[in-house]
């Protein structure tokens, strides 16, 4: 049983990874997931978080089998 964790754009470059799994038998909160997978990295202040491809607040709980994504502010569209 696991949580899938994804990283995008500059965050993926800084961490040097784009996807990993965290084995867990219980739901976890987002910061716990980050800290277990990135124990020596502070999450950037402006990091956005999505669970199962929908934006969530940082206080949200991550369920087993969820896809959790961390990414920097988005910059699509035209300048």
């Amino acid at each position: 049983m696991s949580i899938t964790v994804r990283y995008f754009a500059s965050l993926s470059e800084v961490l040097n990874k784009s996807e990993e799994k965290l084995e867990t038998t219980t739901a976890l909160d987002i910061k716990e997931v980050w800290n277990q997978l990135n124990p020596d990295k502070i999450m950037p202040n402006n990091t956005l978080v999505a669970i199962n491809m929908a934006y969530v607040e940082m206080g949200q709980t991550v369920q087993i089998d969820d896809e959790l994504a961390f990414f920097p502010p988005v910059t699509g569209g035209a300048l």
């Binding site: 491809m53 934006y55 502010p73 988005v74 910059t75 699509g76 569209g77 035209a78 300048l79």
Partner: protein
């Protein structure tokens, strides 16, 4: 309503012609179409930009864009929306995004198109990386649409 994320080059005018030719049920019903096309510039913040790489969160992008359009449809009296966004490698002068909104009245078409564009910029999971003459950089500043 149609949302497309494409890697191939985007020709907004061919897309419009093709999409509208197939909007047969709306024939004669819309009086106003507002279209926004965002195009890649060859400069940004004082530097020459030689190309750009657009990353996105495949799956979430489509979901988020659909949410934006649904919310806009609740807010304005609009009849149809076409939204196409490129990802991958882009060159200067190539279109990045096309947003087209059809409505009975022009006020709704203008407002809804702009609203979709602003929401896209602030919440659709796309990220731009600019390739400069030396090196590359992630775009971090998202300009406001209301500045002059």
């Amino acid at each position: 309503m149609k949302i497309k994320i494409i890697e191939a080059e985007l020709n907004p005018w061919q897309e419009m012609e093709h999409y509208q030719a197939n909007m047969t049920t709306l024939s004669g019903k819309f009086g106003a179409t507002n279209i926004f096309v965002g195009t890649m510039r060859d400069f940004n913040e004082g530097d020459v930009v030689t190309s750009m790489t657009l990353e996105h969160y495949s799956g979430m992008t489509e979901k988020q864009l659909a949410k934006i359009i649904e919310k806009t449809e609740q807010q304005y009296a609009i009849l149809d929306v076409l939204l196409i966004h490129r990802v991958g490698l882009l060159l200067p002068n190539q279109p990045i995004v096309l947003i087209a909104v059809w409505a009975v009245h022009r006020g709704d078409a203008f407002d809804a198109c702009r609203n979709i564009m602003e929401a896209l910029k602030s919440s659709a999971p796309f990220w731009k990386k600019e390739n400069l003459i030396e090196g590359s950089r992630w775009v971090t500043k998202n300009t406001q649409g209301y500045q002059t």
